[in-house]
Symmetry: C2
Subunit: 429 residues, 2 copies
């Protein structure tokens, strides 16, 4: 029985109880959210030692980190170091996007070493296999696609990105639109390449019931992938993007009816003034399904700083309804991130998530900032470091710039406003 | 004659013509904005070789970088390196906040080497002098304060932060409010300390006409400093902050009537959901005066990442009306920034400014992103690097992660969506 089926039957599971406790919400709140599909809890029945995370309405905004081998960097060991870096930095979920080396081994190791939900994009492995076995990624069959989904589900993957909305209807709209950047989703490009080559409909759309059957068996949460994610500001919110979103909304209804949890993936590159509309559209068209956004990055011109462009967009997105932020690292648009960039990507996305949680009034968010404010006022550096979202970095910077015994910091030194005003007002600190 | 007096008399100056050209606005637009005070052009008559920058309504959002010596780091040479780093990174203005070593020499060197507007906070030098000569920073006279303002004006400083709104009325409100963080503005703390010690009104408020007379003589733009800037989310938008803003609004009217350009400084630490209201309040209470914001940072808990918390808040602020962003560096709340942090702070603030300019439809903003989108689609890496907001960093990261001849990047390698879809759709790149 999936979490959704249980909730639909009014049955509270241990997984739901854990989420309720971690979120500071009542069990009834979680039960109702899961039942109506506005909350998902990705928890594959085969993922051992999982600490489940709820994603959706009224819950803390969650953060995902992407890792995985590639053709050029096939070493699994380093990816496991990146996994640890992501977990240490506070990631709520990790996606294994491996396309190099032994992909099965990578996924199994990631699942085994990851206490938070693990996601994948099965079509990647499918395409890599076809390339290796037949010399071209389009040389996969529809059966191959479902087989990979099933294999990965058996391995305990909690959520899977599947580009079900990349249909002929949407591809026609893409051609009519005349985009600047066409398609930048890798999975989306595989599907389009396959469809055009074979002149057939997307198997994950045509055979959606088969997909739902597998997902239900393992309680895999479907993350309906946005193959038409805009890859530049000029393509944002265009007809092909919204066409795909409409189709995905319909597929959410079908997933819910089949007892399968589903969320929606979203943009991408979006101008700041279009983000709120995008969030509202997704919530309306997809009947309140949780929204998992990649960014959105708010300008195209900042390679090397796209963790920041994504944090700017992510804060507004999460404030306006997004539930789950995929991290973006400083390496985005330039290459694969290294361990330090993974760490920086996770912390930056967590800052966006937390800033939004403060704005949305999520339980517990305000108290954290208040504790820090008091530590600052008391010039209590130990407490400030302990309360920092990244205590390691805060400690390093403080140590590099100040001697340990100093009460103030080198920015103002003896001319510290906090000290001066406390003295002037005759207050104790 | 100040720029404001000229505009009030309907006279277009060379300075206004330069600004019109750089902004892609008509000369009439600039003339009218300066005349009504919604645009300021800080341009001291003694600042040689200045390339003026307009700040305000309908113009590109500008970015300021703070540099300056301190007691612990009194070396002028390093501050000049930081000045150069800020200029190389694209700062539109630089404030010299020196409090260590030879402050006069520092300021004169900064003005001489800075082609963009230079700002200062004269009360800093005043306090340091009093500390050195009399052993306590409160041991300055009102005359000392005006004298330092005059000296700095003579040296060519284009804009000065003066905390004129820190009056007894506002201090009483602060006491009644019961803040968590009291006062975190250094200049504000000096003023409050002085007022309480001497039991006298703020000389810059009581003697505001004398201040205006000096500012008018050199065309110094007054940047009315927010001494009650909230230092934590819990204190944002409280009665003391808004009381000071009301007083500053009245002082803007008096400045305009005296032919003196004026802008307003703003928060600070502000929850994301209060930023728009803060911007609207400032515009309304201060009759459209340009708004110069420090951040706003949207959470207290991210020391080491406050360039990012400020970019998140700064984008929303600038979209909602702020005209001028003071950079925040990763060193904020921990110590004085080094050269690399200055660079990172400027670029990050420029990203926030540009994201807002895209949202506001500022002339030229959209074209930049469109050029980058086309370069990405063409997999033209040379052009992508050249168009990057920080070409140095983009080039470094690209080189570190990829070999020079590669067409794609290591994130996707041969599985590049752009390539695959172009081929599938039969399009040329």
């Amino acid at each position: 029985m999936t979490q959704l089926q249980a909730a639909q039957a009014g049955r509270l599971t241990q997984v739901m109880q854990t989420v309720a406790r971690e979120e500071g919400r009542t069990e009834e709140y979680i039960l109702q959210g899961v039942a109506e599909g506005t909350i998902v809890i990705p928890a594959n029945i085969n993922h051992q030692n999982l600490t489940p995370r709820g994603i959706g309405k009224g819950l803390r905004t969650k953060v995902n980190a992407n890792i995985g081998t590639s053709t050029r960097y096939p070493e699994l060991e380093y990816e496991l170091e990146k996994l640890q870096a992501a977990l240490d930095a506070g990631a709520d979920a990790v996606m294994d996007l491996s396309t190099g080396g032994d992909i099965n081994a990578a996924r199994r190791q990631v699942v085994a070493n990851c206490p938070v939900p693990v996601g994948t994009v099965p079509i990647y492995q499918c395409a890599v296999r076809a390339q290796a076995e037949h010399g071209a990624l389009v040389q996969m069959t529809a059966d191959d696609m479902f087989q990979v989904v099933e294999e990965q589900a058996q391995d305990g993957v909690d959520f899977m990105t599947i580009h079900c909305g990349v249909t002929w209807e949407a591809v026609h709209r893409l051609r009519q639109e005349g985009r600047v950047g066409d398609v930048v989703s890798r999975g989306g490009s595989f599907m389009i390449g396959w469809m055009i080559h074979h002149e057939r409909e997307n198997p994950f759309y045509a055979g959606y019931d088969r997909l739902l059957e597998i997902a239900r068996r393992y309680d895999v949460t479907l993350s309906l992938g946005d193959g038409f994610r805009p890859g530049c500001l000029a393509d944002a919110t265009d007809r092909s993007q919204i066409q795909e979103l409409i189709i995905m909304g319909e597929l959410v209804d079908r997933a819910r009816a089949a007892g399968v949890q589903a969320m929606i993936e979203g943009p991408g590159h979006v101008p700041y003034d279009q983000i709120q509309a995008n969030m509202q559209l997704q919530k309306r068209l997809c009947h309140g399904a949780p929204f998992y956004v990649l960014g959105p990055v708010v300008t195209d011109v900042a390679p090397g700083y796209d963790h920041i462009t994504a944090a700017i967009g992510g804060t507004l997105a999460a404030t306006a309804g997004a539930d789950f932020l995929c991290y973006v690292t400083p390496a985005e648009h330039l290459g694969l991130p290294d361990r330090e960039e993974v760490r920086e990507g996770v912390v930056t996305a967590r800052i966006a998530a937390h800033a939004a949680d403060l704005a949305k009034g999520i339980p517990g968010a305000w108290e954290w900032d208040l504790a820090m404010a008091k530590a600052r006022r008391e010039l209590d550096w130990k407490k400030q470091i302990a309360l920092a979202i990244d205590p390691v970095k805060a400690r390093q910077l403080r140590a590099a710039k100040n001697s340990a015994e100093e009460e103030t910091c080198t920015m103002c030194g003896e001319y510290c406003a906090v000290k001066i005003v406390c003295e002037a007002l005759g207050k104790a600190r």
